[in-house]
Symmetry: C2
Subunit: 343 residues, 2 copies
DNA sequence: TACAGCTTTGGAAGCCCTTCCAAAAATGTG
DNA sequence: CACATTTTTGGAAGGGCTTCCAAAGCTGTA
């Protein structure tokens, strides 16, 4: 380890007191230009590096933010995380990452992040934070932000799930479909529930009737049913209906749509000629699979999450803010719209 | 903020000196069981939380590792990062993440990570660390690990690129192909170069001749050419050869293979019936696209990277270790092997 | 009972900063 | 030039912990 140079060394070398050194280093105004110049020169010469933790201890703030994020998943998190990291580094904060593989880890990570003085704020991604933890978070009074989930007590950034599902379904209706099914995820998941509502409302607003028959959920409950196999199973289920089967589907996530497409292909159905699909998320795969889907503005969500958190740090009494982003319809081939237009 | 409880509070409340409290909290042996019990009871009652930064300052170590990782990319990093995070949290360290979007950011992040005392070690992912930075890293004497890149001065974990390319190409040869092309990435990238060598060696060892004609690189240089468009362009280029075009390809990354497949499809070629492909990486997409590819043991690479780093922290004079993992051939449909087998 | 040799305990010093207060220096004013 | 102001500076105190050394408390032995 290179010799450790402290402000005392600089003080001695430059012939000033440590207070002055500290002031120069922190751009405090009451220092003459000559003094400043001299101190900076010496600091540079000695290759001074402030000790982060001594600063944090003395300043009583950590300049770090931690993010608790479910790792299992895909593109969505990476994109949001990119936004988060982008903004964080712009602000000069550090990002401490806790990747959750099992829901039970959440509590442990929360405790670690909660260690006194450790972080200035915490972001929780797409997770049901256990009530017990929520209460503790509340008590600590630490700025907390929720991304892709909602709780009345904390700021949150999320996607207008119902609205997106509505748009997706409406798009299918506009394309002339009347019998539209939905492949959903487990109803323990709030987004799944909301997307179901959006789907249902779209049908009803357009004079179509809603029936449970047309909503299926795969058996595989991994990630609350937002997984490829669940999509495959649900579609297989639909296919068993024979000629009764809907010919258009709103699928509550792209990854499930992938499974659904596989099931369709294996059974001789072509997309979009025989069956039309609209997904949700716009993961990277979607583009390659030419899947029409609802895109979530992931990067911006990340950026906003940090902006919000920092705003709350600055002003803890700020009113709690819930922001929902509207997903955008990305029309590709799976819905059949392009084919029709070409004709 | 909940009232801050310090060891002084515990000391007063429990009727001991602060030294004893600290000893109990750190499991130091010379404390009687009764004392220990009493102190723990009080600490719990007061809901004591140690102040992380005070500890780090006093202990002279940070219990933090930082990872500098190119964010732009995909699955590969996420997987490796999962491994890293898994091991890190098992060891009780914190992970500070620096996501690089532009190569020029590397230096800045390195400086931040290098702040005196800030981290106990740094991991660099898949990047050409600028020489200037390398020199500084060397000087600081901080444990450094390289993942998916190599430098004589630091421990590294990488994939046997040449070996993988060899296996991929050999697989195609075994399937009876004689005219095998390669879609490569920019040759500034070490992995690209190594994969080219492996491809070439495989041809030559099997008595096939190597020709530059059969190696193409797309124009798009994003991510050193490891991107979808570059794959598309390279394949389009090949297609222009007409009947001279190879009917089997080793593609240096899955993402390029995606572009290549698109180009093929648009020109009426079917995969694998008309053209066989083998990729490299085994990103998530590969499975969905039924792409035969070389899988890198990403998670394990992450785990090992941390183990290695921690080992070096414990023993800085350890000899420098370079580990290469061998990729495994994952046979799916794009190479045509399954079709043949079915016959 | 006296004393050597352990074990346990207390707390000062040290880790490296920031910040506050008082003192010193510079400046302005009549 | 004397004095009041303002600007600049020095450094103690404080942030909360670990660790080391000395002191106190025990134990066992003769």
């Amino acid at each position: 380890m290179a010799k450790k140079v402290t402000i005392y060394d600089i003080a001695r070398e430059a012939g000033f007191g440590i207070g002055t050194i500290s002031r120069v280093l922190n751009d405090h105004p009451s220092v003459t230009p000559e003094t400043r110049k001299k101190v900076i020169e010496v600091a540079k010469r000695l290759n001074y590096q402030p000790h982060t933790y001594a600063q944090r201890l003395a300043r009583r703030q950590s300049e770090t933010i931690s993010a608790v994020i479910p790792f299992f998943t895909n593109y969505f998190f990476i994109e949001v995380l990119r936004g988060v990291q982008d903004k964080i580094s712009e602000l000069g904060y550090d990002l401490v990452l806790y990747g959750v593989e099992h829901p039970d880890q959440v509590e442990g990570y929360a405790s670690r992040a909660l260690q006194r003085g450790k972080v200035d704020g915490i972001l929780f991604f797409s997770m049901k934070v256990p009530d017990k933890v929520l209460v503790r978070l509340k008590e600590t009074n630490l700025p907390i932000g929720l991304v892709d989930s909602v709780s009345p007590d904390f700021d949150s950034i999320s996607v207008a799930n119902a609205e997106g599902a509505y748009a997706a379904t409406a798009h299918l209706i506009e394309l002339g479909h009347r019998r539209i099914g939905m492949i959903n995820a487990q109803s323990v998941s709030a987004p799944a529930l909301e997307r179901l509502q959006g789907y249902r409302r779209a049908l009803e607003r357009h004079g179509l009737s809603f029936t449970d028959e047309f909503v299926r959920i795969g058996r595989n409950t991994k990630q609350d049913g937002f997984n490829r196999d669940a999509g495959y199973e649900a579609m297989t289920d639909f296919i068993k209906m024979g000629s009764e089967m809907p010919k258009a589907f709103f699928v509550s996530s792209d990854i499930q749509a992938m499974g659904a497409i596989a099931a369709l292909n294996e059974n001789g159905f072509r997309v979009p000629e025989d069956v039309a699909l609209v997904g949700f998320d716009d993961i990277e795969l979607a583009r390659h699979m030419r899947l029409t889907t609802m895109r979530q503005p992931m990067f911006q969500m990340g950026v906003l999450a940090i902006e919000r958190l920092v705003a709350r740090m600055a002003n803890p009494d700020m009113e709690i803010l819930h922001t929902t982003f509207s997903p955008t319809l990305i029309v590709r081939e799976s819905c059949g719209a392009l084919i029709r237009n070409q004709n």
